[in-house]
Subunit: 182 residues, 2 copies
Amino acid sequence: MTNFQEKTTSTEEIFQGSVISLQVDTVTLPNGNESKRELVKHPGAVAVIAQTSEDKLILVKQFRKALEKEILEIPAGKIDLGEEPIKTAERELREETGYTADSLSLLSSFYTSPGFADEIIYIYEATGLTRGEAQPDEDEFVEIVEADLVTAKRYAENHLIHDAKTMYALMYLELKQAKRQS
Amino acid sequence: MTNFQEKTTSTEEIFQGSVISLQVDTVTLPNGNESKRELVKHPGAVAVIAQTSEDKLILVKQFRKALEKEILEIPAGKIDLGEEPIKTAERELREETGYTADSLSLLSSFYTSPGFADEIIYIYEATGLTRGEAQPDEDEFVEIVEADLVTAKRYAENHLIHDAKTMYALMYLELKQAKRQS
């Protein structure tokens, strides 16, 4: 077993925001050299793959300042301090889309950007949806779009869908369909 | 068409690092309220899905300071200023693994964390590999691991594989296999 561990010799706190924080660690590399690591801390997030009874994927359109454009994403949100990820999934699905699910099962999780950030996303699949009224936060502007898989894949080709978790969701649904057909 | 655009009224530069930079934008929301957006700028990256002639996926084991652990990822790296993404793909594959490819085709791209970062990853598939000598940077510590899909999926279950691009790669290969069999 290799051991490439980098030992932290000092940490400089750069920024503490409401979503992320940033620090620069000075580390000792396995060869004894010194290097710097720019590290973004994030509380983690959940995302929900939810399909209506007509097999339409529920997407949320929102403006993303980091990209300076609107994109379509599966419902998602940050984990509140101390919140169980499945509770975040329930809450975000209800708030952003109005839907509630009979059950939410954890499909997978992944780190989005391990080179500089510790953000992890837990991906849930919702089953047994009931439609209700969306309750977005006062300062949250979202629009629900429901799309069958063919349409969603076209959105991805056109880069209306263009983020890791939603691209992963499309691949998951396509694989599920391929397995059903084989 | 909705327009949820957020108008920037001011930008505060917080940090300029060698990998990322951080700024906080003050924005006007569609309802006229003011809000802050914490934004990480990143040069973008590429990742390469490369399989040996024995259908083994080429993975790179490296320590990720942000996660404080070693994980296995498909070969990847940041785009140098002005570099064509396909050139980054060629370069990173060669430097990290020693392999060169007859051809590299762009499969997909995605933003990793649209909520706070503009990092985009271009995913290439390599075909026609020739093995050579890896040439990692002096301060880059990586080990090559070659795994068939069954083994790679086990690594994902055990969270040795645990990042967005590599999870996407596994899903892509599984889908490709399912389509071949149907």
